[in-house]
């Protein structure tokens, strides 16, 4: 496992094996990126099918039942299996570099988190080929989903249970990494905003995913093992599901949007060529949003009938979130203000993000008004609102960061020209799709309907909305084309691709070696790379230690085996209600594989390996030529 061997050209099988066993945060980032993009494409395709169905009234392009499956899988996939892994990809690739670490705190768990997520996602998607996908909406309210025929809901419950465990593990890993692995001098108040938002977002994962785990477990035993949590004739109560789901579900929105805020807080200062305005208030606002995010779940349940007192409290708490979010928006604007702005593709996404996200936030405050929410509830206004937040906030951040971080992640650049085309087509398509849905909602069009009658004044608006969705589809195809073109393009082999990088990740020459920093950097202030550059430091960083042996973790196949065991057990549980004889044995075999793999992991010492100084120098010379990383 010497570094020279790593740098050598490998065969296809060896490369696959390398990715199956890797514990390197940069390779796991690539896996997250590929998986996330795949599921993003699938869920986007589902959205297009829905918009084609709704293009004209009384359409029969898809059946009502299949439409329910499409809308459920679109929402579930986009939130759990596309946005989350894509943000995890950037967190994995960038956070350890930003804090000057060689890897994450638990490289093994990092790999386990990915494989659990991926196999859970795969399990959920197998439902399309095995008797029908879940069809009770991404919220899967118990009063509806408990009685959904077939195995769709079972796929939802088991798939999300497995992938949720993976997300929770990754969240714990990021928290510990950011607490313990920071380089000397990287105090909390010198951490880049993306690291801060990753920390807070991981903390939200820590507290939000267990209620989902419990909710899914209750649903699982109710549907598959005859329990009675949601069955009112046996004393159960379906409102429990609503509470558990939204105690998870509302923070989930912040889990996704906080890293997106962090990404923009990295992009904007680089291209405004100004220090981030109001750094400490940004940190404070991030923490406050995270805290308030847990205090507002019942605003999804205003019409459930919790009573005016509960509604009033949750309404006020919800409106309060607008304050820290507003602080952030003003800070971004004031960072741009007076800057020497370079309008690159990432900056275009950032500039598009601010007004789009503000629009989504304003409609959010409208819905926080409980009496008005009785009118807006379950209408297309809600659909418009959350797509403004999610597409306007999270997807723009992800697309912008594709361009922004591509040089660090792949040592290649995405085309700026094609990127600008992508941005404008996607951005115009996005507003065309969703702006008009506000009015459809106000006119009374309910969400989640598979068709509608003509001549209610909805025909034209729905048609426009569908055209916009097709434009967004074209935009995504252009982005993917850009990605494939970059594979053929020339390697960059440079440092600080954008020329104005500020934080530590830009101080590294690409391609980044597997041990990241050959010597741990010493952080002497906020924006450490900017600081060093302006003091004329050619190497980009001051080192905290002399060149010495580097300790690195070993690769392992065990995370994949653990995840496969869970995957197998899920099939046993799925078919349990059918009364097949093999269901319990399959559960036992699956869990047995998992437990055996875990015990194997426990019994073996895994001490990692050392990269010696001569190997480091050889790697540096191989990557950057004579003189290494100078």
């Amino acid at each position: 496992m010497s570094s020279v061997a790593v740098a050598k050209k490998k065969g296809f099988g060896a490369t696959v094996w390398d990715y199956l066993t890797t514990v390197d945060h940069k390779k796991l980032a690539v896996l997250y990126l590929v998986a996330g993009t795949l599921f993003f494409a699938i869920a986007g395709f589902e959205a297009l099918l829905m918009r084609i169905q709704l293009m004209i009234p009384n359409n029969n392009f898809v059946s009502a039942g299949f439409f329910n499956e499409l809308l459920t899988m679109h929402g579930t996939t986009m939130l759990f299996l596309a946005a989350t892994p894509l943000l995890f990809a950037f967190m994995n690739a960038i956070v350890p570099l930003q804090i000057g670490a060689r890897d994450v705190a638990f490289p093994f768990l990092n790999s386990l988190g990915f494989w659990l997520f991926f196999l859970g996602a795969l399990f959920l998607h197998l439902s399309f080929f095995m008797g029908g996908a879940p069809d009770a909406g991404w919220t899967s309210y118990a009063s509806l989903s408990l009685y959904s025929p077939g195995h769709g809901i079972d796929f939802y419950v088991l798939g999300l249970q497995i992938s949720g465990a993976g997300t929770l593990i990754s969240g714990i890993n990021f928290i510990v990494t950011i607490i313990t692995m920071r380089a000397p001098g990287m105090t909390f108040m010198r951490m880049p905003l993306f690291t801060w938002t990753s920390l807070i977002s991981s903390t939200l994962i820590l507290f939000a995913f267990p209620p989902l785990t419990v909710g899914l477990f209750l649903m699982l035993v109710d549907r598959m093992f005859g329990a009675n949590f949601f069955n009112h004739t046996m004393g159960g109560n379906t409102i429990i599901w609503e509470h558990l789901f939204w105690i998870f579900g509302h923070p989930e929105v912040y889990i996704l949007v906080l890293p997106a805020f962090g990404l923009f807080s990295e992009i904007i200062p680089v291209f405004a060529r100004k220090r981030l305005f109001g750094y400490s208030s940004m940190v404070f606002a991030t923490i406050l949003i995270g805290f308030l995010g847990f205090m507002v779940w019942a605003h999804h349940m205003f019409t459930t009938g919790l009573g005016p007192t509960a509604n009033a409290i949750f309404a006020v708490a919800t409106m309060a979130i607008a304050v820290p979010t507003g602080m952030k928006v003003f800070n971004w604007i004031l960072t741009i203000w007076g800057g020497s702005i370079k309008v690159t593709v990432p900056m275009l996404y950032a500039l598009g993000f601010i007004p789009s996200f503000v629009a989504g936030g304003v409609t959010g405050v409208m819905q926080a008004t409980a009496p008005l929410d009785y009118q807006l509830h379950d209408s297309y206004f809600i659909v418009a609102h959350f797509h403004y937040v999610i597409v306007g906030g999270i997807v723009t951040a992800i697309f912008g960061s594709f361009h922004f971080y591509w040089p660090i992640m792949f040592n290649r650049a995405l085309s700026e020209k094609l990127g600008k085309w992508t941005f404008w087509i996607f951005f115009i398509g996005f507003h065309l799709t969703f702006f008009i849905q506000h009015f459809l909602g106000l006119m009374g069009m309910p969400r989640r309907v598979f068709t509608y009658q003509a001549d209610q004044g909805w025909d034209l608006f729905n048609f426009i909305s569908s055209i916009g969705a097709l434009m967004m589809g074209v935009g995504v195809i252009l982005l993917v084309t850009n990605i494939f073109m970059s594979i053929k393009s020339k390697p960059l082999n440079c440092r600080d691709y954008w020329g104005d990088g500020r934080s530590l990740e830009w101080a590294l020459k690409t391609p980044v070696p597997f041990y990241n920093f050959k010597q741990t950097p010493l952080v002497r202030g906020f924006d450490p790379y900017w600081l060093e550059k302006h003091e004329g430091n050619k190497e980009g960083m001051t080192y905290a230690e002399p060149l010495g042996d580097i300790h690195m973790p070993n690769n392992s196949i065990i995370p994949l085996v653990i995840s496969i065991g869970m995957f197998v057990a899920a099939f046993g549980a799925l078919y349990h209600p059918d009364g097949v004889s093999w269901s319990i044995p399959v559960i036992v075999i699956g869990l047995g594989i998992t437990v055996a793999a875990m015990i194997t992991r426990s019994l073996k010492d895994d001490l990692g390996f050392h990269v010696h100084v001569d190997e480091i120098l050889a790697t540096e010379e191989e990557l950057y030529g004579k003189g290494g990383n100078k």
């Binding site: 638990f106 209750l218 009675n228």
Partner: protein
């Protein structure tokens, strides 16, 4: 690092945090426990909202079902096992590996005693007709106490693995954090049981 032979004099004051990996495990187990607290909070909330709820004419209620003497013995077994795991950690800090192993084995035995009584209790309830599918109340009871029981099983397997794997290796800075994390986890299970004893059994008997 791993080859270093320690004596009680050279053994660090905080062996569980003496290495980077150890420090990560130390922070990691606490962070994990934070999320496990929320997990139990959710199950507790579900139990409280479904307590004594069932179909019309349900024959079991919490006030009649629970037997405090049994729950008290279980509580004592688990609390004592927490104490013995503290003894093990005390010996770990003094580099007395034999003491660590002995007290950990006693911890496991006490945990097994607890588990045996819990299995007996479940068996007894099912036997008298209070099965998992009988009512919302029964589902909630078995899920709450069973989730705790599952945590006990995991803890026992974990500590047993540690005792077995390290029997020949002896104490070093690689496995000291592992023992420490397992003992923190074991204390956490114990604290959760204190809440179960209070919320389920004591408040249940009160009606």
């Amino acid at each position: 690092m791993e080859e270093t032979k320690f004596t009680p004099q050279t053994w660090p004051d905080h062996p569980e945090q003496a290495t980077m990996e150890g420090k990560n495990k130390f922070v990691g187990i606490w962070i994990f426990i934070c999320s496990d607290i929320v997990l139990f909070a959710s199950v507790f909330a579900t139990y409280l909202s479904l307590k004594d709820k069932g179909p019309a004419g349900m024959e079991f209620s919490a006030a009649e079902l629970y037997e405090l003497p049994l729950a008290f013995v279980m509580t004592m077994l688990l609390l004592t096992s927490s104490l013995t795991s503290v003894f093990a950690m005390y010996h770990m800090k003094n580099y007395n590996f034999k003491g660590v192993q002995t007290w950990m084995i006693i911890t496991v035995l006490l945990g097994l005693g607890f588990l045996g009584l819990e299995i007996y209790e479940f068996y007894h309830y099912v036997h008298i007709g209070f099965g998992y599918t009988q009512s919302a109340f029964s589902s909630a009871f078995f899920t709450l106490v069973g989730t705790h029981g599952l945590h006990v099983v995991i803890g026992l397997v974990w500590i047993t693995c540690l005792i077995v794997r390290n029997a020949r290796r002896g104490l070093n800075l690689y496995n000291a954090p592992k023992y420490y994390a397992a003992s923190i986890y074991w204390h956490f299970i114990d604290v959760v049981w204190v809440f179960i004893f209070t919320v389920v059994y004591l408040m249940g008997v009160l009606g």
